[in-house]
Symmetry: C2
Subunit: 458 residues, 2 copies
């Protein structure tokens, strides 16, 4: 019998993260005055040790033992050969998926939640605030804070809070305090409720609440945490790609194609960046971030300076953006409903080192159902986007008669998203594609922003 | 760093199941005429190759390659040292848990669903019917049937069907057809609806519907499947204990105590039976099946001949039983709400080879929450019963200053049961303990049944 699972031993967990800022240039974030933001400007929001990581250009950064101890609860994660899917497709391609669903919260998110909680703890912080949309990030941070004895406060978008009570219970199981946003606990929340007492909430409002709750704590013992977009988040996630390289080595393979879904960018980046380094060093491979056609940041939006949040609390970041006021249609891959894209991922796209793709909602669910029916595990709605691209490439390999090696990040399971599958099976979901007119309209919000410089890293 | 996870390689999956019928005597099942049931009597319900396994006394039975191929989707399952839990308890005990939540449906149930589907397929069966209460078994059988291209029809107790829509979507993701029971598709269902159109349903009715749907298919291509209680189910589950022994060997350990939760008995039996064999052969260890105080089959009910279902469709089985008409209170560990207990497990208790325990609902959830907050993974409500016993034993080891080795079956995750945790955290759950009067009343239904003989296997 051919082995499916390629496992590393616990002692083989990587001891360093890979920092892509050593290998690419990046436009700096800009403050309200149009000048680059200085590290100390961010001190009320993040602990200084994480800010240092955010701006570091060291290629390799040591993972503290105390972080490895917690990561080892589920890491190294399995790499699995998708033998049944290959057979169903009749493809000569060999498909490998990195299974990040084995973490307690069920996704790749704790790879950064754990070190973020750790660095806050070391810096003397007692409480962390954050926002969550679908709930993956809020539960990951609750889990991480629980491991280090920190308080965790999560502002969860009202509509998700009401529709996904399981996520709230999960946070509570790890002692996280989860409130519906907008709440009456912050000025931002109270203002939003005054404007519309029945508002379903938004990620923009929830971010504003979480940041306000952190910076307004007069004890100075509270900080805010973000689950994607920022450089240090991408850094922490590279543990996935570094493990994957070791696992590929074990079976004497190297990917022709690396694929990950991309919302804020951390899932894609975590698997892909170590392979981007190889590409920079001359390796020949294709790297595809995959986004929803309804929120096509990399494939259709311009590379601009824009805010990370709707309320414009954050600095201007150099990124592909649909505009900070953009509200994507309510498709079910909550983790991919972000108007922007990590500056590092945006820069790689601008330099042509990665090749963005987009897929429609229905083809994503179709791919998810085929995966569940062949490989057994039910993927998260976000993950299904990457799988749709995998299936396209596997079919192409069949047409071309090529033994392509495809590596995909299986970012999380869909066990708390089965309601979305239910709607798909009941034919209640549609494809939504952004129109050119909607795109033009969305772009107006950054028309007067400074433009990022065209940087060539080599 | 001390390693947490003890992993076997895929090639180390056991190639044979252990059949405890080679080592213990069992009273035979009895038919309506009071005589032992003959294998051919069961032929309309089960395929003959599974009936042969049900009555086999061969000690080791080969696992077909086609079964191993599907089991390898998630097996071998990890054994994990619960370092954080040990630390939180300050115990000198070393606690190991066998993590069966890694299967696609999230529990140990597919260990028997997969071989059952396989043997049905080999026998020429096209469709399998079953019942499900909380939904674990129905999803496991849907998954297994999907792997072998069989139709799967699940009758799900109405109240669970309404309260747990995610389970239905999960079955659908694997092409299982799930209907609420009572349904209009069977006579048993229609009769139940006529008696009470608003009935919440019961496992008893659902079993009757599933059996009827199987035996009434005139093509002869449909059979029924049961997820616990029967000898062949216990047999298939021993793969867990056989793996666990290899994993203990790898770290030079042997358990002083083996613990599993017990509803119908398959989770407990699967881990424990290979260790029972050692005990029969002279090893000194304690083996504890753990049941809810609200449904105390082994700890308080007598060893009798009783029916496996409420409607008395099944033969009389020799088992500890609270009476086939017993309706346990609605606590949330749906998998432990069964009036009887596997005949093999009942016989071991009668012979004193295992020592049954019971725990209350609140101590079970307390244990589950402590586990989640230390080890990260959130256990199923059933699993929390075993964990409550683990914690008791670990505390006892601390008092006695003994380095006990405790092995527990972590039967499944609680990600689709977070609603029950929510109620626990909101202090909405109570302890329910069966009163002596209720027990006496329940026992009336088997007062006139034949009595099992007192058998001594050695």
């Amino acid at each position: 019998m051919e082995a499916r699972k390629i496992m590393l031993k616990e002692g083989e967990i990587p001891r360093q993260w890979y920092n892509i800022l050593a290998d690419i240039k990046l436009n700096p974030p800009l403050g309200p005055d149009g000048n680059p933001v200085k590290p100390e400007d961010l001190a009320p929001v993040f602990p200084m040790n994480l800010i240092e990581q955010e701006v570091s250009t060291e290629r390799w950064i040591d993972i503290p033992d105390e972080v490895l101890r917690v990561l080892s609860i589920w890491r190294p994660s399995p790499m699995v050969r998708a033998l049944n899917l290959e057979k169903a497709l009749g493809t000569p391609a060999r498909i490998y998926f990195k299974n990040e669903s084995v973490s307690p919260p069920g996704s790749h998110k704790p790879n950064t939640a754990v070190p973020q909680a750790y660095y806050n703890k070391v810096f003397g912080i007692k409480k962390i605030t954050t926002e969550t949309g679908a709930g993956q990030w809020g539960s990951a941070l609750s889990f991480a804070c629980c491991q280090y004895g920190l308080e965790c406060k999560v502002f969860m978008v009202r509509i998700s809070f009401d529709q996904k009570p399981y996520r709230k219970s999960m946070m509570e199981a790890w002692c996280g305090k989860c409130v519906a946003s907008p709440s009456t606990e912050t000025k931002a929340g109270r203002d939003a409720l005054e404007r519309d007492p029945n508002t379903p909430g938004s990620l923009g409002i929830a971010i504003s609440e979480a940041v306000e709750a952190a910076v307004s704590d007069v004890t100075g013992e509270t900080r805010y945490s973000l689950g994607s977009v920022l450089n240090h988040v991408m850094l922490h996630q590279t543990i996935m790609g570094l493990e994957a390289k070791k696992q590929m080595d074990l079976v004497g393979e190297y990917p022709d194609i690396v694929i990950g879904c991309a919302g804020g960018g951390s899932n894609f980046a975590g698997l892909a960046f170590p392979f981007v380094l190889d590409k920079i060093n001359g390796k020949d491979l294709e790297i595809y971030p995959v986004e929803p056609a309804a929120c096509p940041t990399l494939t259709r939006a311009p590379f601009v300076y824009d805010h990370g949040d709707t309320a414009k609390y954050t600095p201007l970041l150099p990124m592909h953006s649909l505009g900070h006021a953009f509200v994507p249609p309510p498709f079910h891959a909550g983790g991919l409903r972000y108007h922007g894209m990590a500056p590092t991922v945006s820069q790689l796209a601008a330099e042509g080192l990665i090749s963005p793709r987009s897929v429609t909602q229905l083809s994503a669910y179709e791919a998810g159902a085929l995966f569940a029916r062949t490989e057994g595990h039910i993927p998260a709605p976000e993950t299904t986007h990457a799988l749709a691209c995998v299936i396209d490439e596997a079919k192409k390999a069949k047409e071309e008669g090529k033994e392509k090696v495809i590596l995909v990040n299986w970012s999380g399971h869909g066990l708390l998203d089965l309601g979305a599958y239910e709607r798909y099976f009941a034919n209640e979901l549609q494809n939504e594609v952004l129109s050119d007119a909607e795109l033009s309209e969305a772009e107006k919000v950054f028309a007067n922003h400074p433009k990022p410089a065209v940087l060539k890293s080599r």
